[in-house]
Assembly symmetry: C2
Homo-oligomer: 161 residues x 2
């Protein structure tokens, strides 16, 4: 039925980031509401951030529009222009191709949460603002490289990969 | 900047429905957050319903996924299976082509609001569940007809059109 039972939708932690970068996602978990509701054209994830956690490494998308609404607690939006506190009901929009890297950090001492919507596209490229890293995603999966396409360095991903 | 100032985004009432059907949208108003944030791939509207108001006539989309999250008050989701109360944080998903007509009604005595996201597509057809009416939308605008494509009847749209 269209109304979603959020208590029955898996909450996943972890990270797809390579090597030691995966640890930066500690305290972040997400429920994928879109597929739970049968949607295929865009994703709608309900993301929970424990104190100190971040939504992602700061990045921007080349192909996919992105929209967020904070639903609980206080999130700090970090983008090229600085830090912006966001309370429940506050929204932000990130048009595809706008090279203003962004992420949300929970700098408070209470849990925070937000809804994030992003278009599904056959291919995607995202660039990370604070690292020499990009990711290309298609039906075959995601490939993380340096921005010139060469392999990530040992210094970037550590000894655990 | 990505964070949206909701106090600066126009709130629009009114309706595109033909003739007397437009009056059914009284008490509904909406802010178009997507274009305000430069998004083109999907719409993100913050809709306010005064007591007694409804989101739309009950309908379903053939081409566009739709997702809602209630943000304030209590909305009643009406679909083919009946009525479902939705509180802030409750979500519902409506995949393109699923012929389960739906709308939200504010049956409470306080204002209610919800966020609705819908894909932008070059063409769209939507069918109205409780009327012999459909609408086809493309770059040229929207055309409301009976479900067989013939003009709406005077009984449907009244004397004011």
């Amino acid at each position: 039925m269209p109304k979603l039972d959020l208590t029955r939708i898996d909450r996943r932690g972890g990270s797809g980031y390579p090597g030691k970068l995966a640890a930066t996602m500690q305290g972040r978990s997400s429920q994928r509401l879109g597929p739970a509701g049968g949607l295929t054209q865009f994703g709608a994830n309900l993301v929970r951030l424990e104190p100190g956690a971040m939504s992602s490494l700061r990045h921007y998308h080349m192909e996919q529009d992105e929209f967020v609404m904070v639903t609980e607690g206080t999130c700090t939006l970090v983008d090229d222009s600085g830090e912006h506190a966001m309370q429940p009901g506050d929204c932000a929009a990130f048009p595809a191709g706008d090279p203003n890297g962004h992420h949300l950090i929970n700098k408070s001492d209470a849990p925070a949460a937000f809804l994030v919507v992003g278009t599904h596209t056959p291919q995607e490229t995202a660039y990370y603002s604070d690292l020499d890293m990009m990711v290309k995603t298609d039906a075959g999966g995601s490939r993380f490289t340096r921005k010139d396409g060469s392999p990530l360095t040992a210094a970037q991903i550590g000894d655990d990969q």
